[in-house]
Symmetry: none
Subunit: 416 residues, 2 copies
């Protein structure tokens, strides 16, 4: 549960819930609902009661500061049906923190020492607001600061051990781990049909691990495998075995897993051959180069790029024959031109129409990808991409990288 009106107004992204979701999953705690609520006493109380009704424990982040709109303490006291009591030890600690910075404690900070009767303060190590561990019947509310690094430190130090103890007492054991297999070039429903028999087999076999598809726009479609197991070694074994099955079913469309990206995969393929790459971009305007240099060590295989946005630059610098530039011929010439200009083993080029207007009679989304490998005859591929200007560019960039990936993955690539 995240507390703060700025979250509801869209002025700030709730990264705390994302981080906590990940930590809870790793710890084997099922996370069923997230909520965000504004700085309003009645609604924080309502949200706390809703959360307690839905689960065994609630983590509430934010609203522990010193200002008048920090009211999480008061709301929790109402839910616990107890008074707030000011803790003189905490007051002294906060005052000391201020004086160590050569400042006097503003009176408003004393409120941060208020503790609902029966709750246990969790000391702060990084800021002023202590957290609160609040028993409510046999359930629990953990109140944490909203500042992400304060929240994270306190969660790891004080909340997680308490959660583990409760999990142990409840007899629950084990962790949840997941792996993401990344694909490009197939539709969500197409992947769904390939995987359907496997998903059904898993479901009827107890549902562990599980497989889910995640359409991720310009990053392609991800296949998430989630496993529950007694420990991380057992979970890792389940994930590895399931990943192998998924890769076998999906085949060439898989370009990586977890932290791997299209460009890191490509980097590995190029380095395995000691090949260097040059890029000529028109429709993508530098996006492909920007992705490639993000791979650590890119200077080992990436020579450079020419963004030939103006047609005259294509003709003069890349030796593209004058004439239409949204053609397979121009894409091949750009790939070969940049390969020679920059002195690389492989040249990759994109030319096309980002929109919103058609160009040379082609509708927006028409993109030609050119590829020149060594002295072989350059080749080209025509693709049709959906979306607005920005998405056509992003899709064109990953489509071009994927074309090269598939070309390098297949047997029989002519050496330079």
């Amino acid at each position: 549960m995240a507390v703060g009106t700025e979250l509801l107004l869209g002025q700030i992204v709730d990264t705390n819930s994302v981080w906590l979701g990940e930590q809870l999953a790793s710890a084997g705690v099922d996370s069923h609902f997230h909520q965000a609520v504004g700085d309003n006493h009645r609604r924080i109380v309502l949200a706390l009661r809703t959360a307690l009704a839905r689960g065994d424990g609630v983590i509430a982040c934010g609203g522990l500061g010193p200002t008048h709109d920090d009211i999480t303490r008061e709301a929790i006291a109402e839910v616990m049906n107890v008074p707030l009591e000011r803790d003189p030890v905490i007051v002294a600690r906060i005052a000391e923190l201020f004086s160590s910075r050569g400042r006097a404690m503003p009176a408003s900070n004393e409120r941060q020492a208020d503790v609902p009767r029966g709750a246990t303060p969790m000391p702060q190590e990084l800021g002023t607001a202590p957290g609160l561990l609040c028993p409510v019947g046999n359930k629990v509310v953990y109140a944490l600061p909203g500042v992400p690094y304060e929240m994270q430190e306190m969660f790891n130090r004080a909340v997680l051990p308490d959660l583990r103890r409760r999990l142990g007492e409840s007899g629950a054991t084990g962790i949840i781990a997941s792996r993401v297999v990344k694909t490009w070039g197939m539709s969500e429903s197409g992947l769904g049909e390939l995987l359907a028999p496997r998903i059904e087999a898993l479901d009827s076999g107890g549902g562990n691990p599980t497989i889910a598809l995640l359409a991720s726009g310009i990053e392609g479609i991800k296949i998430r495998i989630t496993a529950k197991a007694a420990d991380s070694r057992a979970a890792g074994a389940l994930l590895a075995s399931e990943e192998a099955q998924v890769r076998a079913l999906v085949g060439e469309a898989v370009f990586g897993a977890d932290d791997e990206t299209m460009e890191s995969t490509l980097a590995a393929l190029l380095m395995a051959r000691s090949w260097s790459l040059a890029v000529a971009e028109s429709v993508t305007g530098g996006l492909v180069a920007a992705r490639l240099v993000n791979v650590p060590g890119a200077s080992n295989w990436f020579k450079g790029a020419v963004v030939a946005y103006d047609s005259t630059v294509k003709f003069s610098l890349l030796q593209v024959p004058e004439g239409p530039v949204v053609t397979d011929k121009a894409a091949r010439a750009m790939a070969e031109g940049v390969r020679r200009l920059v002195g690389a083993d492989v040249g990759l080029a994109m030319t096309g129409v980002a929109g919103p207007e058609p160009q040379e009679g082609h509708p927006p989304g028409t993109v030609f990808v050119g590829l020149a490998i060594g002295e072989s005859e350059p080749e080209a591929l025509e693709v049709h991409l959906p979306g607005d200007r920005e998405r056509v560019r992003q899709y064109a960039a990953i489509s071009a990288l994927d074309l090269l990936r598939r070309r390098l993955t297949r047997a029989g690539v002519v050496p330079a």
Copy 2:
């Protein structure tokens, strides 16, 4: 309400709720709670019922896809207590979408045509899943796709007009409007000190409009002005008058407002002079070019770029004198070299160290920006940027664009 187990597991950030929160605030709709829930029928039903009990309307994003874990339709039908009915018109539309891409519709996509009896489908313009407008008593559930750009398009086209109509009927008045003034080159505390007297004056004068600072990383620091008023004209007047005061206090660091970007401001400055631009990138690796081509009509003033990632490309293609390349001299030579190579009025160049390792004795974050305008002597600026590899690159890109912006904004720029 966001639907998807990946949200609870922390595998994806819920940007939809942030975006919707902002839109609802602008439209004068109070947004009291956000929820996220996993792909679980019982819990989606529970979350929908909770949301309907708490408010007059619910926007539910996600779970409208074709796969077996897309079950928002079923959950809404249960909450409405009606059956799902397959709409043949929607089936035909989805089938047509597939055939226009030369593919057959997988059978699983037919599920996307299921409509709870009494609900109205909201047609899709960008993807396959239609949205659903679902009356529940005198309240309403809007079911939207989870893919952000599909969701945003459908919200603007179909949800917002319906919300406005309901607001009008309910007799609610008044709106909240905001404007964002964007700055680059000053610290948050520096801006805070400049604006403090104005913020205090507003606070003591009733707090309308309000001013807040929003550190936005690679986009600089934003100053958000928020006004409440009876209608959008009155709110607009408040915002315009406050924006003028803020601009006067902050000065040259302001590069735009609302939808304006550093590159759109730069485009206007270049077009006012009928000047064209060429870019030479090393440390930024194509990021600057990619930002520039995102400005509609970029072909009117952007000629192209050379990404000289390998030093030999700097020497051979850009005529940079052989020797160290992380220097002001190399930055000037790159700017002048690309200006001549591409045939532009202005050349802009960046060379530097993204990290993590130092280079040529310079620590990561050291960046030289070169600028060549016409036949004038090229100039260079040294900047020191914080952060990891990716952030240094992004900061370097906006810093370079900002240097050119300030140069073109000042009087006395030598004409080409």
